[in-house]
Symmetry: C2
Subunit: 548 residues, 2 copies
């Protein structure tokens, strides 16, 4: 049997556009002689639709699109994710479903049974769970074969919750028990660094237990903070990968359950993070309809990496860099920014802020007299830069990319309405230590000079006062990032983190900074998620609260 | 039987502080001869705890606090909301529970069965549902009486979802069937304008059906965006209100099931919104630990109302107003701002922005040449004002209050990093038409001049260019607010809104503006929720998406 894994990149809510793409790929797969073509979870609507699911008009249009797609399924079977209204009106009134389309109509629909409601997932907010397995027979060309439909979380179930039952049952086992010879899984599973290895291990374990091969098709593309990495799979009955689609790109792959198909490699950790972020930038720009992006170039590593990734995403001719030196900027800041822009081949201009800075100082002078200089004075400079970048963004319709990294955002080492300005925070889930790794990797990959070596080696500084250096205010980044991983990603307590071998005073200070800066993160732009816990929709913290 | 309704105002995560308050009120109730004292849902932890519930150390501390509270319950029974670990480790591992404390220990715990997961609620993200009713016997002084415990949503169940079964069963009916003679409900039910009447109607219907009286104790206080209004109730078996605690304030009320108790009145709509917002401001300031607030006074009605409400919340001596006139400011802007400050008795200063404005124009002049002036130039002024206010906020540790209303925020008639700056958006869920109603009400209530009459009568303008007027860019506010209510609060489609009698072009333009400005709202400060759907945690929209 020839199976097509149709790894599409839908836009959330763009039902017409998504429908066209799906129909186009069904035609292609039929032309190639495929018996079956499988699309990702909610391919008609795009994932995650969020509160667009509360819009009855959009639900109806998605049903109409699904019916029209089914009409095109003659001489081929398609499995397509869509939002299925529950005619009983019970529960939430809709299911997260997969339609089996053949003979010009929707033959049957399977409703997802396990609805993830943790981290970035809110599925019980919207969907009722399905109530049982669905096995369908399909003509493989050489006899019928029984396929069991499942959707994303169904395949993970309690295996991802180490040592704790969350769902308490295994839809895969039930699907196999209902007679499925092959498990099909339609997914919209977001990228996290390291997750593909986990996926393949968990899926292999499942499949070995049931002895049935697996066809897994994942959404690809960036939708706001979430990056879907694709990397669809065919696993044989022993759990071996016999086909893998490309990661981080649309792909239509043909595979046979016995002989497999093309096996694309999945990138290693640092290349993977780079490709994820590049895809996240590209799709945010494309799906929002921007022509160009603008980036403030400080001469530091975060803005340098952001610019390099933006160039990868949309090309140098669509990236504009602006340096905004102040009285505290060192000479190398400007020369490094200029060298970077020149290396990357992007537009570059310099807008000194001294005059605006001085006029702001005069404006607040009466209020600030008798006060010693501090954070307020530093933030003024960052906010002037933010206002200049936003003025250019507003005037020319360019998207401002925010350059801050996760370590800074965690401890509040950034200025709200200053360097936090922008529509997309490219590195806000990338710890500072990983920023260096990514930069060195991109430089090594590039065929020409990229991020200037001096940017990689000089001590990081915000340059908002004379002689400032990050490490005067913060622990060394290796220690800071390790503590943050325990506290933010793993929800560990202060005592447990100290138990891992860190200094008590340092841990307490870091944790205090994280908690105190929740108000800044509340107003942060959308940031691209690459770790198991990003700031944003996956971490929902109160502000007017005590945490210790 | 003498029952104490202990309407406390917990701080989220402040387990020690909440425990002290609970113990203090248990002592009081015992001293007054109460047989039973009832606290709100999750009183030990504060509601909503959000992702603090993922912190195992906080869960353990909440259990220890609950045990220590129980130790103090001798000679009285207390019912207290807390987070109860599920020893089986199944599901989410914790329950949203109510402990029955007597004889110095936790006698039993009831786990909430209906977990709201819609609007601002995420309870299935955290909690497992309880599996059955709990009825406990209590010595009333004149024989035993059987009380059935329930928590918040249990009492609402499917009655709030008109025409659709969501939960499919009624825990109140089951509790009555299990022998409860009285229903007790521990709640943390947030304020929405008009909701108290709905509560009393739904509760009365429930109680009449079961024939059992109701004791309902609701949390009071502001926790970030949510304002809890208290207004606890005792309903007799016929559904009549025979006791009501104060709204928007802590209250310890004693009632008897036959004779009732004190019956406080619940404020009407506009006074209610004012009291809600005042409580929201006051608690955000107190729970975050701010001394003073700062407000940019434009001479317009939004900033005037914000200042008046802030004065109600924390007193005139803790409110600072700053006027920042530009070349486009009319004379009345400055005189109205000054009159307002003088009427309210708040600190007032003037910081003209002309020089900073000019220096910013010069800074971007090279880039802006050959461009016609537009939004970018307007936003520059708003961002200078934002930067000045934030400089004062940073220097003196004052909380900047954001003054924009819901109508503006909906259609993006506001500047990101400009007038959207601030830690708390006081009016971001108050439509412009209601801003006028609240202002007139506050003026009528005040014993001295408040918001100057000219502020109430002049046509609203952002004054960011010569001769600007809101109604040049927007439909009349009466029409705009009506369309927004349909689209934002009711999720109606464009066609359905037009079907209500609105002009197609106007509806399409408003809806387009709402959708296009999702990115601004993503970065908006916490806003106080007063309608059935506020922007923020109750409305989760994608950005890089199409909605039509």
């Amino acid at each position: 049997m020839k199976i097509a894994l149709a790894q599409v990149n839908p836009t959330v809510g763009d039902i017409d556009g998504n429908q066209s793409r799906i129909v186009e790929w069904i035609e292609k797969a039929r032309a190639e002689g495929a018996n079956l073509v499988v699309f990702p979870e909610l391919a008609v609507f795009g994932y995650p639709p969020k509160d667009l699911l509360l819009r009855q008009d959009l639900i109806r249009r998605n049903v109409r699109a699904m019916e029209q797609i089914a009409e095109r399924c003659v001489g081929i079977t398609a499995m397509v994710g869509y939002v299925q209204p529950d005619p009983s009106g019970a529960g939430k009134g809709i299911f997260n479903s997969a339609a089996i389309c053949r003979d010009g109509k929707i033959h049957a629909s399977y409703a997802k049974r396990l609805l993830p409601t943790y981290d970035v997932f809110d599925e019980t907010r919207y969907f009722s769970p399905g109530s049982g397995p669905l096995v369908t027979e399909i003509d493989s060309g050489s006899g019928t074969i029984r396929l069991g439909l499942t959707i994303c979380e169904d395949l993970w179930n309690d295996r991802q919750f180490i040592g704790r039952r969350v769902y308490g049952f295994d839809p895969i086992r039930q699907t196999a028990a209902a007679g499925a010879e092959v498990i099909v899984n339609l997914a919209s599973s977001p990228y996290v660094a390291g997750k593909q290895a986990e996926r393949e291990a968990i899926f292999a374990e499942q499949i070995r237990e049931q002895g049935a091969p697996l066809v897994y098709v994942n959404q690809v593309g960036g939708n706001d903070d979430l990056i879907f990495d694709g990397a669809g799979l065919v696993l044989d009955g022993k759990g071996q990968v016999i086909a893998r689609t490309e990661a981080f790109a649309e792909d239509l792959l043909y595979a046979d359950l016995e002989t497999g198909g093309r096996v694309e490699s999945y990138p290693d950790r640092i290349p993977g993070i780079c490709r994820a972020v590049v895809l996240g930038i590209r799709d945010y720009i494309r799906k929002c309809g921007f022509e160009k992006v603008i980036i403030g170039l400080s001469g530091g590593i975060d803005s340098a990496l952001t610019a390099a990734l933006a160039v990868e995403a949309v090309g140098a001719d669509r990236v504009c860099g602006v340096a905004m030196p102040s009285r505290f900027s060192s000479d190398h800041s400007l020369s490094d920014a200029e060298a970077l822009a020149s290396n990357l081949g992007i537009a570059y201009s310099v807008i000194p802020i001294e005059d605006v800075h001085r006029s702001m100082e005069i404006a607040v002078a009466d209020h600030f007299k008798d006060q010693s200089p501090g954070i307020a004075e530093e933030n003024i400079q960052a906010r002037i830069r933010g206002a200049i970048l936003m003025a250019l963004s507003n005037k020319f319709g360019w998207l401002l990319l925010t350059t801050g990294n996760k370590s800074e955002l965690a401890v509040g080492y950034c200025t709200l309405y200053g360097d936090m300005c922008g529509g997309l925070a490219v590195l806000s889930d990338v710890p500072k230590t990983v920023v260096y790794e990514m930069s060195r990797y991109l430089n090594a990959e590039a065929k020409r000079p990229g991020i200037p070596e001096n940017v990689l080696t000089k001590p990081p500084s915000a340059e908002l006062r004379a002689g400032q250096c990050d490490q005067d205010s913060l622990p060394p980044y290796e220690i800071l990032d390790a503590i943050l991983e325990h506290y933010v990603e793993e929800d560990m307590s202060v005592d447990d983190i100290i138990g891992c071998g860190f200094d008590r005073a340092t841990v307490e200070e870091v944790v205090r900074m994280v908690d105190r800066n929740e108000y800044k993160r509340k107003q942060a732009p959308v940031g691209l998620k690459v770790t198991s816990r990003a700031f944003g929709s996956g971490r929902r913290m109160p502000i007017a609260a005590r945490c210790h």
